[in-house]
Symmetry: C2
Subunit: 313 residues, 2 copies
């Protein structure tokens, strides 16, 4: 198993990426082969300084970096020696089995969609985030911002992709799929959710349990919550701010602490042919380690093949 | 000043409506004239039992009640002696200056729009909720569910209505108007917010400060947050559930306690010609009292006339 990690992505890179590797290696005796993609003049001394050594580590030199404010398509085209461009090249050519970066989100999405491409039959790939449930488990919210405007058929596909992710990565058996809406009854909603409901109801590939409301976000009603990317992005950022509110109020609570971005471990791009994971710009060691763990699970479970299978008509 | 209160609306009516009146009267020496609309065989004994007496109280007998699950238009037509139908009749004929009910929300909205009617020039009335800010103040979120699908021109009007409400009822000077969106920069968003942004930007009737994100919901960036009713309803219910989460985690915090529905004091219908306030179905004494306070402010400030003025072209 070969995992590619962009050492240059994120506000605290490459230091926190190095620390994330260290954390991962300290917890895994049978580690995956890790391809560390970044500027070796910066990365190598840090690895040495932190005594991060392992036969599983392979440094891939990438002299260029795509900055946060660069135009994704333009930057990927012009900076072919950037860590993100090299990462996607390695993934596309099969040298690595998954690619992780906390760098420019737009460049990661463009790379995922154009170097790796959508699974045949998938109208639009999507991004998801995990949701801490009050009952202790973890749910999934999909889409969280890739597709601001959606069609009902896309929402229906998000449900299938999310269901497979919940099943194989979050280990939820027969995940309950809920449609985020403004009321419980069928027929409620805006034009989009009204049109999406019957598609989900008729979809035999998922365990659709009906509409859920904002109040059900953190309860046990649904494991996978489907919404358009506009709604999902607002919910995601609102939920993140709840953690900030507890911090500012001096509240230290096990449940609310689970809202900390560090525990999310990145956002998988679902519906593309190979595992791609995008990290939060403020990722630190723990997030990098969690993203490696998610990549391992995605490879082990052969999630992308399972998704491809579901979209074969 | 004459305020009409539906004594039969809400899960705990008429008892909690009676207790709300008691609370209001205990705090106000110069009380408004209160028209208590409900079944006098139920309400009168309760008023006596709780010793709620005042020359300002006037009991209006309404032998019928519109239940929660009744069809709004049908119920209003068939139950002309219901508390809601009588309330709107009194409001339309000028016998009362504001009408409050925690009863059937649909019937309240239908009554507001068809007995009272929209202010001339207002495309669609809207409903708003207050938002507890971390800095201590109170913001406004509009729309929170009346209009699931919106047009940019409607969103622009919500901004004007919300701005006037924030100014005259929440006492916020030159309220900052923010557009709920998925990114800060102009051009971000779904089709609706992309088209709404330029309208808000060019609108000289409001102090538009740009896009805000889910993370800014409870901070000081905007006083009035404009969104479509689908998004707003999900945010509202999510915020309410945050209070429930703190309760379930045994957290007793002054700030999070402000998320309790009881402190909201009902949802004003904005853009109709007279003050109409809809209470939460689970309203208790404090909510009823707060709704009377809001009605007083709406009458005193002559808010509906100010709104009418703004929509004169």
């Amino acid at each position: 198993m070969n995992i590619g990690l962009d050492m240059m992505g994120g506000d605290f890179a490459p230091l926190e990426a190095v620390k994330g590797l260290q954390l991962y290696l300290s917890e895994h005796t049978h580690a995956a082969a890790l391809f560390c993609i970044g500027d070796e003049t910066l990365v190598k001394p840090l690895l040495e300084e932190h005594q991060v050594t392992s036969p599983n580590l392979h440094l891939i030199h990438a002299p260029e970096v795509i900055g946060y404010h660069e135009h994704p398509t333009k930057a990927l085209k012009e900076k072919q020696h950037s860590s993100i461009a090299i990462g996607f090249h390695l993934l596309a050519t099969g040298k690595i089995d998954a690619f992780i970066s906390a760098g420019n989100t737009g460049a990661m999405l463009v790379g995922a969609m154009f170097s790796i491409k959508a699974i045949q039959g998938v109208l639009r790939p999507t991004i998801a985030t995990i949701v801490p449930k009050l009952t202790g488990g973890t749910g999934l919210l999909v889409d969280v911002g890739l597709n601001a405007d959606c069609k009902p058929e896309q929402m229906n596909q998000f449900a299938i992709l999310g269901s497979l992710y919940a099943q194989h990565i979050l280990n939820i058996n027969n995940p309950k799929i809920g449609l985020m809406n403004v009321g419980e009854e069928e027929g409620k909603g805006n034009i989009l959710t009204q049109a999406t409901y019957p598609l989900l109801k008729e979809n035999t590939q998922i365990n659709f349990i009906g509409n859920i409301e904002g109040r059900n976000m953190f309860d046990d009603k649904a494991d996978v919550i489907v919404c358009d990317g506009f709604t999902g992005n607002i919910i995601l950022k609102l939920a993140e701010s709840v953690y900030d509110l507890t911090q500012q109020r001096g509240i230290n609570d096990d449940y609310f602490n689970r809202f900390h971005y560090e525990n999310y471990g990145g956002t998988p791009v679902l519906g593309v042919a190979k595992p791609v994971i995008i990290g939060h710009g403020i990722s630190k060691a723990k997030s990098f380690k969690l993203m490696i763990n998610v990549a391992e699970k995605m490879i082990e479970s052969d999630l992308c093949a399972k998704m491809t299978e579901q979209f074969k008509s």
